[in-house]
């Protein structure tokens, strides 16, 4: 069964010279536990597609179905709830809250989902061990390396046990070796049953996916 399905979605952006289609008539489905990678040149619409599938943006035309529910018919609060408990987001620039420790960053989405304190502390410890940062729980993001920050961001994305992990260039700010460690981590997440949709330029990361797609000028070409 598809966790998320995009049906003939188009996303136009208004520009001075007229609307520009970042995504044009794209259909895509990510099944339960599937690992999909989308590659393509810069500006081809990969991130826009990821934002549509990740329920942070709405298509100009077409439909996004999440858990078989039309996202367009949901209120902002319902979409926010889906993002909180069903989707985990990993960003190129990590976006960890600088004033919170690694552990607190992982706790935050759980607190928002009203997970009891004891449960979320246990889950945070579990996730820090999972990403190999058990000894970094009390470190601020500024005290972590880029690779460590991205691992904390992945742990944060997994905090509420999402059905789908979406990642936008997760190795984009990391060196090759660290990028490989992140790719290994994604493999583990996939092996544990979480569906992954990753947008990447990194061929090593894309090669790990069970399905590889290429975008060009707003359309999926393979």
């Amino acid at each position: 069964m598809a966790v998320v399905e995009a049906r003939r979605v188009t996303r136009l952006f208004p520009m001075a010279a007229g609307p520009v289609a970042a995504v044009r008539d794209v259909s895509l489905s990510v099944g339960d536990g599937e690992y999909v990678a989308v590659s393509g040149p810069s500006g081809c619409g990969k991130s826009t597609l990821l934002h549509l599938v990740g329920v942070v943006d709405q298509p100009t035309s077409g439909e996004i179905l999440f858990d078989a529910r039309d996202v367009a018919a949901l209120t902002e609060a319902e979409r926010s709830r889906i993002r909180l408990v069903r989707i985990g987001f990993v960003f190129q620039r990590f976006f960890l809250l600088p004033m919170l420790t690694a552990g607190e960053n992982i706790e935050l989405p759980q607190a928002e989902a009203r997970v009891p304190v004891a449960d979320r502390r246990a889950r945070t410890r579990e996730l820090l061990e999972y990403v190999g940062l058990a000894d970094r729980a009390d470190h601020l993001p500024s005290q972590l390396s880029g690779g460590e920050m991205q691992r904390v961001a992945i742990a944060r994305a997994l905090a509420n046990r999402p059905a789908l992990l979406v990642a936008d260039e997760p190795t984009g700010e990391l060196d090759e070796q660290t990028g490989e460690h992140i790719a290994d981590l994604f493999d583990r997440v996939h092996a544990d049953g979480t569906a992954i949709l990753v947008v990447t330029h990194n061929p090593v990361l894309a090669a790990r996916a069970s399905r590889r797609l290429t975008m060009k000028s707003g359309s999926l070409v393979s």
Partner: protein, 400 residues
């Protein structure tokens, strides 16, 4: 992980910004607090001054503010009639004249001479010596002198002085009367530069060389069970040609006329300080939010609700404004003390009158106004984050 806790952590993280904001709000808040103290302080101090003598009704012979005094015809007889009223507990006659006082060293001072029938617990505190004697036969001209005058003339209780009254508008050649200083006092109503003395009504009559002297002010203490309003009504029934005012009436009259100027100044300056506080905090929060747009968009993408982000911003605003507002209280208090001392140097004001008087009501108003400021300052950044397009912001952050 409450919104307050997250706001506190953000405030701690951006420490320099927070400290600057708190100091800014504290300085602005100190001015606001002073304006609030000033807006009611003079009135409260004036009411306190009126009530300090133990009399709650004043009778004068003229209309309007009870400052300009005309002699009250037949005041001695009237006092006896008023004392018989069930609403009245006590009546005191007061007559105020200008006079010249000579010490034994032939040094003289122009003084305000108060003749009174009250022989104990008058509107003064005794510093040295005794009050005016109850029995007028024991001393022909007993005299209470202000501390400033005593120091100026070098007189003490027991000293002999001479006093010559100069009735207003009358070319006077009245002979001086020999008096004895019974006490050195601080008069409640005396102004900073004024020399004051008080004596009995009998002594004043002698100094004026008249058989009977009419009071120009009568102080009435109402019976506690009746209250001042009932006493005023009863007095007006007896003498409708006179004006009787309860202390509340006097305060209300001054509030309408004499003190409106201070209230207006205070209102204008308070409004300005609120605008400054609002602009300061709103600007800091807006700049801070603009610097964190990527972070906020990421939080929204992670499913953190608009409401949660808005409440974090509201708490941030409350912490900055609240911290500043709290600091503003001691700062404003110190500033008020200095300003009060400065303003009380104005000539003609009773020494015991204060411009800035601490009142819990001012603290409550201060807190309420800053609560509104915190909410208003957070409103624009909250609106900014509520309508933040998540995808476009994330895209911009990556491209930028």
């Amino acid at each position: 992980m409450t919104s307050l806790w997250l706001a506190w952590r953000t405030t701690k993280r951006y420490r320099v910004r927070a400290v600057l904001a708190v100091i800014g709000v504290a300085v602005i808040g100190a001015l606001l607090f002073d304006m609030l103290l000033l807006s009611r302080g003079l009135l409260a101090s004036f009411a306190d001054l009126l009530n300090s003598g133990g009399f709650d009704v004043r009778i004068v012979g003229s209309e309007g503010l009870p400052i300009v005094r005309l002699p009250i015809a037949g005041s001695t007889r009237l006092a006896a009639e008023l004392r018989a009223l069930p609403e009245v507990r006590d009546v005191v006659l007061i007559r105020i004249e200008r006079a010249t006082l000579w010490s034994n060293e032939r040094t003289s001072r122009t003084v305000t001479l108060v003749g009174t029938t009250q022989t104990s617990g008058g509107p003064y505190t005794i510093v040295r010596g005794d009050d005016l004697p109850r029995d007028s036969s024991s001393d022909r001209c007993p005299l209470l002198v202000s501390r400033r005058l005593a120091a100026s003339l070098g007189v003490e209780p027991g000293s002999s002085v001479q006093i010559s009254v100069s009735p207003e508008g009358v070319r006077s050649a009245l002979p001086p009367v020999a008096c004895r200083v019974t006490g050195v006092v601080n008069f409640f109503f005396a102004s900073t530069g004024e020399h004051s003395v008080a004596t009995t009504m009998t002594a004043l009559q002698e100094a004026l060389s008249v058989g009977a002297v009419d009071a120009d002010l009568m102080l009435v203490a109402s019976q506690p069970a009746a209250g001042p309003a009932a006493a005023v009504r009863a007095i007006q029934r007896v003498r409708p040609d006179l004006r009787a005012y309860s202390n509340e009436d006097v305060v209300a009259l001054f509030n309408q006329n004499g003190f409106a100027y201070f209230r207006q100044i205070s209102f204008v300056l308070s409004s300005l300080t609120m605008v400054f506080a609002f602009l300061l905090v709103a600007t800091l929060l807006t700049v801070s939010v603009n610097q964190r747009l990527g972070e906020i968009a990421a939080l929204r993408a992670l499913g953190i609700s608009r409401g949660r982000i808005a409440s974090i911003l509201l708490w941030e605003s409350a912490l900055l404004v609240g911290g500043g507002a709290l600091l503003a209280l001691p700062l404003g208090g110190l500033l008020a003390l200095g300003l009060d001392q400065l303003l009380r140097q104005m000539p003609g004001l009773p020494e015991r009158l204060h411009f800035f008087v601490f009142q819990w009501r001012a603290v409550a108003t201060h807190a309420a106004l800053f609560g509104v400021t915190a909410a208003a300052a957070a409103a624009y950044p909250m609106w900014l984050t509520a309508r933040l397009p998540i995808a476009a912001t994330l895209r911009r952050e990556v491209v930028g």
